[in-house]
Symmetry: C2
DNA sequence: ATTCGGGGTTCCCTGAAGGAACTCAAGGTG
DNA sequence: CACCTTGAGTTCCTTCAGGGAACCCCGAAT
């Protein structure tokens, strides 16, 4: 939709939205993350229109987030996350954390995440890359950076 | 856009997208986060259509992410983040981290974030809420939770 | 009495999402 | 060989949402 091109804005949020901002894109990424790598699998799981799924997959491949790999002599393909795509999933995990906390309701979270390193069910906790202390929205000051516009 | 209703899916990513998944919503949130609280300010800053901005603000207020406050005897309003909205900004900060790393290019990141606690320019680092070790996409195992469908 | 400025509405046009049907290539089956 | 099945799309049509510009309303200031 967004005819307005977010990718040209001097804002990393807008640029990230240029990659996964269109409807369905984050859900496509999630499906591939959890091991649904094929067109029909994703289409059936999400109930997305085949046309739109084709467009989204092509866009994500073009942006270097996914790779299209043949898995048979026949024209059969599956989509896998690149390193860039795998890091993008960290953004999805942040969404999960917020959604689990504020939108899950009585039933509790629909999906649990076990941290392999410690074996416990956990969620992501944003920390400062420098000092390791919690780093939330209210803990930061926003400054112009080297790539700022103008 | 998305005629498909993400809010009803048993997935916290989809539910979160039901709140900020529409085009512009994350950017509106960002603007309010950095202190642009008024309609015309946001509209001018983003170049968003007034009609769409009206819709997005109403949606975010309805979902409890923003609050509309009068700031004058005249009919003048500003939009401020609720606690729920402030935590949602953590998701935006995750986007910033990814965008800064993968999309900033030569010029470097357009915006810098100073962590007040340590005074350093930093970015968010997702950690396990249980053990504190790094928690990225490849470090977790996905399991069905109590609120799973079926 | 008129202008101004914030905060929206209304209108029309285009373009994107939904949905179903159709295509195409390669293997398997009788 | 003729036929069916599968995966992976493509085509076409309809409906609805975003873009853009103009318009409106209310209270204050001049």
């Amino acid at each position: 939709m967004q005819r307005t091109n977010f990718g040209d804005m001097a804002c990393s949020i807008a640029r990230t939205l240029d990659v996964i901002g269109e409807p369905w894109s984050p859900l496509v990424l999630r499906d591939i993350w959890v091991g649904m790598n094929r067109f029909d699998q994703i289409q059936a799981d999400l109930g997305i229109s085949r046309k739109v799924l084709t467009e989204r997959l092509a866009h994500l491949v073009e942006r270097g987030v996914l790779e299209k790999q043949a898995y048979d002599n026949r024209p059969r393909y599956e989509y896998v996350l690149t390193a860039k795509g795998l890091e993008l999933v960290d953004v999805l995990m942040a969404m999960v954390g917020w959604g689990d906390k504020w939108l899950a309701g009585e039933a509790g979270p629909p999906v649990l995440y076990r941290h392999r390193a410690c074996g416990e069910i956990a969620h992501v906790d944003p920390r400062c890359s420098h000092c390791g202390e919690p780093m939330h929205a209210e803990d930061v000051e926003v400054l112009a950076g080297p790539g700022s516009a103008g």
